[in-house]
């Protein structure tokens, strides 16, 4: 294989870059670090830290994860729609709770990214200045927000610099329904431009790639799958740590299960609890064990009355809701778990980020997923998968019992970890950038 290209000047456009603390912050971080490790000169164009410190929340510890060779250029832009500082709100906004929605609809005419499109002008002006001072060899942008795509596309269109767009969600489709998103009519001409201008258009799973190729004639040859994978920087397991099986609970004979992920309203949490209760009746090691739900409640973090009632009622079945744990605390969660429980809403266009972290652990996984859900593709070859035959209480309980009764051998655990290693971000991005080297004629 050819040596990877190096020494190229690369602009990476990411509104949501560290210290942004949202789930979308990790893939950009991994991308620029892989590029820096390949010897490229990487400039990240992002917004000023006030956007995170004042408006949307940030975590400055994430900055320590950025390769020190990466240059960060921050553009201070008014947060506008996300602005919590009432002092500078226009008078009409104080008086009218619908101000945001009405103003965003107007801005969306300009660029199909309702509340983020407002950043396009200042980010683009900065990108032009940077490119004018010392031209880039490549611009990569990651969405959402898709204002990042706008910057890369316009700079690419104006200057001819090659462009790669990394769509971590879907600009055009609602990934949960597979239908065009609410603003698809506005997005379509931009996506067509993107597929004209960009050298590659990345999507996170094969079904998304297929649906783009089917509906956008220009997509063929441009669309590439670059999966999410799991991030070794936030490795869910310490491979060197010895693993024990079971032996938990007061009597020392329990097997513990964990669900790790967002406890959204769409998660079948009640079904999972009921299945667990049924499985405990059939299997003593589960009766002595605990099922933990580790994660943020809902999308906003607010606990609904229904969730509160479920958590209270489930206690008697040995179910514990721990709330959100920091990424750094998850390693401990996985270390204290015998079996992982996987469930994810959505369908064939959704893979979930969590499934990659799950396979990275090498732990047995009980999965309840609907037929056609893309997580099934990642789990299909996993050596320690215990899949429920259907999403029902008896079927999930049966899979739980099966997993509890199968103490994995060292060889099985090693094989599972090896399978997971193929989905590390490092491995995925190395493959992606090797291919991009060839696309751009750099190899």
């Amino acid at each position: 294989m050819a040596e990877p290209a190096s020494g190229k000047r690369i602009l990476y456009v990411a509104w949501g870059f560290a210290p942004h603390r949202g789930p979308g912050t990790y893939r950009p971080l991994a991308t620029v670090n892989v590029l820096a490790a390949r010897g490229h000169q990487v400039t990240v164009l992002t917004v000023g830290t006030d956007t995170f410190d004042v408006a949307v929340g940030g975590d400055h510890s994430l900055l320590a994860a950025v390769d020190p060779r990466v240059r960060l250029v921050r553009v201070d832009v008014p947060p506008t729609f996300h602005d919590p500082v009432v002092n500078r709100w226009p008078a009409g906004r104080v008086a009218d709770p619908a101000w945001n929605r009405a103003a965003a609809a107007i801005w969306e005419q300009r660029f199909p990214d309702a509340t983020y499109g407002i950043w396009l002008a200042p980010l683009l002006a900065a990108a032009r200045q940077l490119h004018g001072a010392a031209p880039f060899d490549l611009v990569i942008a990651t969405g959402n927000p898709y204002v990042d795509f706008g910057v890369a596309l316009l700079l690419g269109q104006e200057s001819g610099v090659p462009v790669v767009l990394d769509d971590r969600d879907s600009w055009y489709f609602n990934v949960y329904t597979g239908q065009p998103a609410h603003n698809a009519a506005g997005v379509r001409p931009w996506l067509e431009l993107a597929l004209d201008v960009a050298q590659e258009f990345w999507l996170v799973n094969p079904p998304l790639a297929a649906i783009h190729e089917a509906q956008f004639p220009g997509a063929e040859g441009k669309v590439q799958v670059v999966e999410n994978g799991w991030d070794p920087r936030f490795s869910p397991v310490d491979p060197a740590a010895p693993r024990t099986w079971g032996g938990r609970g007061p009597a020392g004979n329990g097997v513990d299960f964990s669900f790790v992920g967002t406890i959204s309203p769409a998660l079948p949490a009640q079904l999972m609890v009921d299945a667990w209760a049924k499985a405990r009746a059939a299997e003593p090691s589960l009766a002595a064990g605990t099922l933990r739900f580790v994660g943020h409640y809902g999308y906003s973090g607010a606990v609904s009355d229904r969730q509160r009632a479920l958590a209270a009622a489930a206690q008697r079945h040995g179910v514990e809701f721990t709330g959100r744990k920091a990424k750094s605390e998850l390693m401990q969660v996985y270390a204290n778990t015998d079996v992982l429980l996987f469930a994810k809403e959505g369908g064939h266009l959704v893979t979930s980020g969590k499934v990659y972290e799950y396979v990275a652990t090498g732990l047995p996984i009980v999965a309840l997923i609907k037929p056609g859900h893309d997580a099934r593709r990642v789990l299909a070859g996993y050596p320690l998968l215990f899949e429920a035959a259907e999403v029902s209480v008896p079927a999930v309980a049966e899979a739980m019992v099966r997993a509890a009764r199968h103490q994995p051998t060292e060889a099985e655990l090693a094989a599972a970890r090896q399978y997971g290693a193929g989905y590390s971000r490092e491995a995925i991005f190395t493959r992606a950038f090797d291919r991009l080297d060839r696309t751009l004629g750099w190899a």
Partner: protein, 526 residues
């Protein structure tokens, strides 16, 4: 700068029930207190009650009050208190209060949190001085001197005044060594704004940089609503932000001050030196205040008018402009009828607009014809054109599409792609002229039909190679184009060379140099 300590920050949660609100630890540490507003109190009473509570709790002790409210009446009260008092911040939820408390404790001042300076990176700021005292009759609140910018701070809302005082302390004349700077005419710095009509402010600025050695140029866009015609610029300011005096003082200090030459678009104000509160961006009179100040401060000023501006300016306004003797440009030649002393400043098309495209009117392909609609509601002419072209489409002679003016597919960045997907573009025929989209279609080698009488065509540096058409002739002419293609294909093929020659930027730069940027003493711009 040392921060306020958390014990000097008071958080007042106004009118909240408390249920379902998790109080962040940092807020609890900052003496969070609930303030219940009296039932039935109107917003003025509520604000007064709040101001009383704030004064007792925070600023009078040298601290800061962060007020939290989310219900409309409480929000109005905290907004009023924040507008009336220095050191009062208002937010709609406790999470944000927590973030502000952390930043205050880390050393940020309230003014720097609320009014951070504009992100202008490419200009050397002149000194800023903030003087106390209100503006008197006939006096500007903001003055552009040859050596710096002076703001009458007494006219400003308290926190905005504080923000400017902090800037002045950091970079103003008091901090400068070696006396005040002065605007350097030899600096050759052009500022164009604030309309950025069709993106031309930015495009002309780039042309000046590209073709006039030694010149710097920047474009400023004040973006109002609606924004469908929004084009980005070196410095883009939203109208809601521009209305705040502190933003306009920043503009004066950082963007307008360092310019030796200002090309004012559409007779709109850049900083509205005569209006310390919220000015009307459309009021033509305000621009004259800025022009007077700029000239008094040694800057050279010119004006450029765009299509549509004459509808906004009165005849008296045009007469005023003519009498003022400023160099005047128009971005479309039909405006020369009203402004005979002006010069045509050709719009500049970007590299992507001039990129090669497939030839048009290929054999075996039904000609694709697009008509640019004049507006959302068409007049009788539009209805007639629609009927004629619809008839040709029904006969299978053409593949016809209407281009609505606010179509997402015609966003500025998408026009170059849209025109490449058709063979023929019918420009707006309602009034004589050639639109920017028509120009872009020419640049892409499309056949353009436009209402461009010979007399008007001669006012371009070269006559644009359009197919001139009177409104009554369109249907017959399109039918002829569809049936007899080669001659029209040849005409369309000349468009790119015309666009490159006239709209590539060099001509515009030379027009600006000749009529505006040239040093009168030297007679040269470069």
């Amino acid at each position: 700068m040392s921060g306020v300590t958390v014990d000097k920050v008071r958080v007042l949660a106004v009118g909240l029930t408390g249920d379902g609100w998790e109080v962040p630890a940092v807020v609890a540490g900052a003496a969070c207190r609930k303030l219940e507003l009296a039932d039935g109190s109107n917003p003025d009473q509520a604000a007064a009650q709040l101001v009383h509570a704030v004064v007792g709790a925070g600023p009078s002790a040298g601290g800061v009050a962060v007020t939290v409210a989310r219900e409309p009446a409480a929000l109005a009260a905290v907004a009023a208190a924040a507008g009336a008092l220095d050191g009062v911040l208002a937010v709609p939820h406790l999470d944000a209060a927590g973030r502000l408390v952390e930043l205050l404790a880390a050393g940020r001042t309230p003014a720097s949190l609320v009014y951070p300076p504009l992100p202008v990176t490419d200009v050397a700021a002149l000194p800023l001085a903030v003087v106390e005292g209100p503006v008197t009759e006939g006096q500007s609140w903001l003055q552009l001197g040859p050596a710096g910018v002076q703001v009458a701070g007494g006219s400003l809302p308290p926190l905005q005044r504080t923000a400017l005082l902090e800037r002045a302390a950091l970079g103003g004349p008091a901090a400068g060594a070696g006396g005040p700077a002065s605007v350097d005419q030899a600096a050759r710095a052009l500022l164009i704004g604030p309309a950025n009509w069709g993106g031309q402010g930015q495009a002309w600025a780039q042309a000046v940089v590209d073709y006039l050695p030694g010149w710097r140029a920047q474009a400023l866009a004040v973006v109002g609503r609606p924004v469908a015609e929004f084009h980005d610029a070196d410095l883009t300011v939203q109208e809601d932000d521009w209305l705040r005096p502190v933003t306009r003082a920043d503009l004066a200090w950082q963007a307008v001050g360092p310019a030796s030459h200002v090309l004012l678009e559409s007779l709109r104000p850049l900083v509205a030196v005569d209006q310390a509160r919220e000015p009307d961006l459309d009021a033509p009179g305000l621009a004259w205040g800025d022009i007077g100040q700029l000239q008094a401060a040694g800057r050279r000023v010119a004006v450029v008018l765009h299509p549509g501006d004459l509808d906004r300016l009165t005849a008296a306004g045009v007469a005023h402009l003519t009498a003022a003797g400023l160099p005047t440009f128009v971005s479309s030649p039909e405006l020369l009828d009203a402004l005979p002393g002006a010069a045509y400043l050709p719009p500049v098309l970007g590299r992507w607009a001039l990129a090669p495209a497939e030839p048009v009117l290929q054999p075996g392909i039904t000609p694709r014809v697009a008509r640019l609609l004049a507006g959302p509601a068409e007049g009788p002419l539009g209805v007639a054109l629609e009927a004629g072209l619809g008839h040709l489409a029904a006969l299978g002679l053409i593949d016809y599409r209407r281009w609505e003016p606010d179509s997402p597919a015609l966003a500025p960045a998408l026009v170059a792609r849209a025109v490449r997907q058709v063979d023929v573009v019918v420009d707006r025929l309602e009034a004589p002229g050639l639109s920017l989209i028509g120009l872009q279609a020419l640049a892409a080698g499309r056949l353009v039909l436009a209402n461009l009488p010979a007399g008007l065509a001669r006012r371009y540096p070269q006559p644009p190679p359009v197919l001139a058409v009177g409104p009554g002739e369109l249907t017959d002419l399109i039918a002829e184009v569809a049936l007899v293609r080669p001659a029209y294909r040849d005409l369309a093929a000349t468009g790119p060379a015309y666009a490159a020659a006239v709209h590539g930027g060099e001509v515009a730069a030379r027009v600006l140099a000749r009529d505006f940027l040239a040093d009168p003493a030297e007679g040269t711009a470069a």
